[in-house]
Amino acid sequence: MQDNILEIKNLSKYFGGLAAVSNCSLKVKQGTITGIIGPNGSGKTTLFNLISGNLKSSTGNVLFNNKDITDVPSYELFSKGLLRTFQIAHEFTNLSVLENLMMVPGNQSGEKLMNALLKPGLVAKEESQIKEKAMEVVDFLNLSHLKNELAGNLSGGQKKLLELGRTMMVDAKLVLLDEVGAGVNRTLLKDLGTAIEKLNKEKGYTFCMIEHDMDFIGRLCDPVIVMAEGSVLFEGSVEDAKKDERVIESYLGRGSKLKDD
């Protein structure tokens, strides 16, 4: 019996009169890689913003490990193990790639000014451990030649990798990936997929990912949730989703058929 790591109950978000997410309810099971697909403007990213505390919901609840986290600010969710990446990559432009990764693990001793001044040894030790970890991540993502480059100078795809890298710096429980594959070349995309699977199997991360690439979804995700107009349209396996009339209609318009390869 799998537990629900994330449960969303009747969540809504209005921007003025527009309901970006309306009465949306869904569950993500522990240990899965759940895909979220849907046409543009169907509220996928808004949903992520609501879960991760970047936006305040209008109505409804979000439960994470059966605890209510509705409207909990994002920096507190981080310590609970809920992380996310952004559709348009976010990075600290003025810090190097390595520093960007090293920024992630919270509660370092060096963050306390007193420690930085009085216990440089402790801080240095921790720093070197984090640095080692960051180096591993950088190697894994094939970014080691860019580790001292300012993150602002990376290409769009490289920034996406850095986004994924951030989630690898801590022991996350649930990671929300917002189009992590978009703008990444095919070869790297395969590696990304492998990385996600590995994190899922070996470290027990649960993933919830928004994606448009059906091949990528098909390879990784089970189940998939299809969203349309701010609420859930369909939930089930990828194969079923591709056959579902309502999904085809909302995704590709009436009368067309989704390619089945």
Binding site: F78, F86, V123
Partner: protein
Amino acid sequence: MDFLNALILLLNYIFVPALAYGSQLAIGAIFVTLIYGILRFANFATGDMMSFGTMIAILFTWHFQSIGLTLGFLPTALLAIPFAILIMGSYMLIIDKFVFKYYRLNKSPPVQLAMVSIGVMFVTQAVVRIIIGPSDRRFFDGEKFLIKASEFKDITGLNEGLAIKSTQVITIVVTIILVSILFWFLNKTKTGKSMRAYSDNEDLALLSGIDPKKIVIITWMIAAILATIGGVLYGLDKSFKPFTYFNNMLPIFAAAIVGGIGNPFGAFLGGYVIAFSEILLTYAYKKFFMYVLPESMEPDGLIQLLSTDYKFAVSFSILVIVLLYRPSGIFKGKIL
């Protein structure tokens, strides 16, 4: 000989004063730029916050003087600075808690926060005037000159003297120490890096587990240090008058914007750019040309490009030119 005299003249009336004045502006500009970069609004209360910190330092100075506690040849005010910083910091945190916090949590647009800071400016200005009054106060004690113009003339045998006031040296030394510590803090410590990260990308910083409450408190504390020290140095070098401090906001903002607002190093350099431009443009060059030109070509007028009354016009013009042609400043800062 004439050439040396001309050089000493420039050193005495332009270089040394501009270096000291520039340091004072630089500290204020870093204050503006930090608040802009991290709390994301233009703080119009800058000048009056500096005047508040200076007022507290003056009150402590008077107290120390009354109990006979002095620093010998150094001004007593230096002893008062740490106490003034503590009170200034509390004042800023109280203002933040009761005023700025509300707008920050509601994610108000920067313009609204800037307007709110004008309110804070009026209140702070009023508090200062109630406590210490609007008139000119001098609180300098200790040795006034490091080198007197007459001594310099005796030693070198030149016509022109070079007078170096101890406040000028104190200003420059304190600025160098303060700015070095600040840049070390921002670039090397974890807290400093999280502050830069927060300034760079707030959403991402929050998702990385950086606690915004801590960042805000540290930012105001650093602001209190900068405001108090900057204000006291200016007051020691010239004099303390609430209205002058309010007026200084213009060159300080100009310095922050010239350097690229949001960029502390830019603000630091911006301070000197503004100070040197103000003094170079308002100095009367008559004596200088008398030394360097042959007698037949001696000038009749003062050869002053602008009257000193118009020194604010200089910073204002620089501000307008920078905003028109390079709104991101010398170093790339956030565009206003």
